[in-house]
């Protein structure tokens, strides 16, 4: 069967294999813009792939995007695939995307928790965590969004391996988390981290592990306000925005807090669309609308990062 990127159905949910194959096709079709790098391996030894969008240069300032750290949130991985394709399509066409990629790189991990994702396809559609074995417990997995070294171990996470928000035995115990930590640290020039989840319709920024406002609270808040306003312009989808602690609850050990505490000023986390009925089981007919409305908000953040170097 001849592989073709033009026949890929962005309006359907796909398996890990199909998405990894699609990534290869994207790289094959755009070798001067996209490359695939492996940043590590999952607990069950699956490769952790990151798409690098770059027009050249060395160690340029970079934007990190990830989707699907919670495996059951299928709309995020699907939005990730659509968005990666959109970046390629818009380079050279859209002035903002072109300007971003002419001076920055974008790193995009579409399947951040591959073991969990495969498990959602084979055994338990509602699986959220990693698939690592917990010593002394029959319960499997760690919540990879409570495993980061930022307020790790606080009350905004669980010490119970059977809980959906189990933080793990120690910070960065999960290879899926450690791989990102190592990558961002070794890169050294990441200016923005945008971690995408679903669902709840929120755009959040640090902090989650404490109620103290982040040093750049006002700037992040204004940027979030603009992003959610542009998102809503598409279909009227209303998003809440603010710090994690103020908007939802205290959450310890999260991606955005770790990124911010490690010098990444523009750290955001999205909670994508909820139609109000299906939750994580959002029908595939919602993929394109969700991805389409998210795009202007993502672009707002990326353009702001480009225009506000630090």
């Amino acid at each position: 069967i001849q592989r073709s990127i033009s026949t890929f159905d962005f309006a359907s949910y796909h398996t890990l294999e199909e998405i990894y194959d699609w990534m290869d096709m994207l790289v094959d079709d755009h070798p001067n813009l996209v490359s695939k790098i492996q940043i590590g391996q999952s607990y069950e030894n699956r490769p952790l792939y990151v798409l690098k969008f770059s027009t050249g240069g060395s160690n340029r300032p970079a934007i990190w995007l990830d989707t699907g750290i919670h495996s059951r949130e299928w709309i995020t991985q699907a939005t990730g695939v659509w968005t990666a394709n959109k970046i390629v399509k818009e380079y050279g066409q859209d002035p903002s995307v072109t300007a971003i990629l002419d001076s920055m790189d974008i790193f995009f991990e579409i399947i951040t928790n591959p073991d969990g994702f495969v498990f959602t396809h084979s055994s338990n559609r509602l699986w959220r965590k990693t698939r690592s074995i917990n010593a002394g417990s029959s319960c499997v997995g760690v919540d990879p969004n409570r495993n980061w070294d930022a307020g790790f171990g606080g009350s905004g996470s669980s010490s119970d391996p059977c809980s959906e928000t189990y933080r793990g035995p120690y910070a960065h115990s999960e290879s899926e988390v450690k791989a990102i930590v190592d990558f961002i640290r070794s890169h050294g020039n990441v200016k923005s981290v945008i971690s995408i989840h679903s669902y709840s319709q929120m755009l959040l920024f640090p902090y989650g592990y404490k109620r103290t406002p982040a040093a750049h609270h006002q700037e992040l808040n204004e940027l979030a306000k603009k992003a959610v306003s542009d998102l809503a312009a598409m279909y009227g989808t209303k998003y809440a925005y603010g710090s994690v602690a103020d908007t939802i609850y205290l959450a310890d050990g999260t991606t955005v807090d770790w990124a911010y505490d490690n010098g990444v000023k523009y750290s955001f986390t999205f909670e994508l669309r909820d139609t109000g009925r299906y939750g994580f089981l959002l029908p595939s007919t919602q993929i394109i609308p969700t991805a389409t409305e998210t795009w202007p908000a993502l672009l707002d953040i990326m353009v702001h990062v480009l225009e506000h170097p630090y």
Binding site: S12, Y13, T247, Y249, R277, S284
Partner: protein, 93 residues
């Protein structure tokens, strides 16, 4: 493969802080195996709670006893999963 026949997702709206505290206590009861899909954020904000079939009665009785308002958001989780699986197969074909 784990099946979710009869599991429901309830949309709960707590009207005050006291009800939120009660719901947090409910969430800590490990034997119920419930899972907040959309977490509790504050009075008037909806939370979505996945309840396995064996815990349905206990959870609904708890909610009704404490006058916590809820509606059934997903009647049968497995039915939706079956539908999703069918759609994926069709799309792949």
């Amino acid at each position: 493969e784990q099946l979710f026949r009869g599991d429901q997702v309830l949309r709960i709206t707590a009207s005050n802080e006291e009800q939120i505290t009660l719901l947090r206590v409910l969430g800590e009861q490990a034997e119920l195996q419930i899972d907040f899909w959309r977490d509790l954020t504050g009075p008037g904000h909806p939370a979505d709670l996945w309840v396995p079939f064996p815990s349905l009665q206990a959870v609904k009785i708890f909610l009704e006893f404490h006058s916590i308002s809820y509606s059934v958001m997903i009647e049968d989780v497995q039915a939706l999963l079956d539908e999703e699986k069918k759609n994926m197969t069709r799309s792949r074909r």
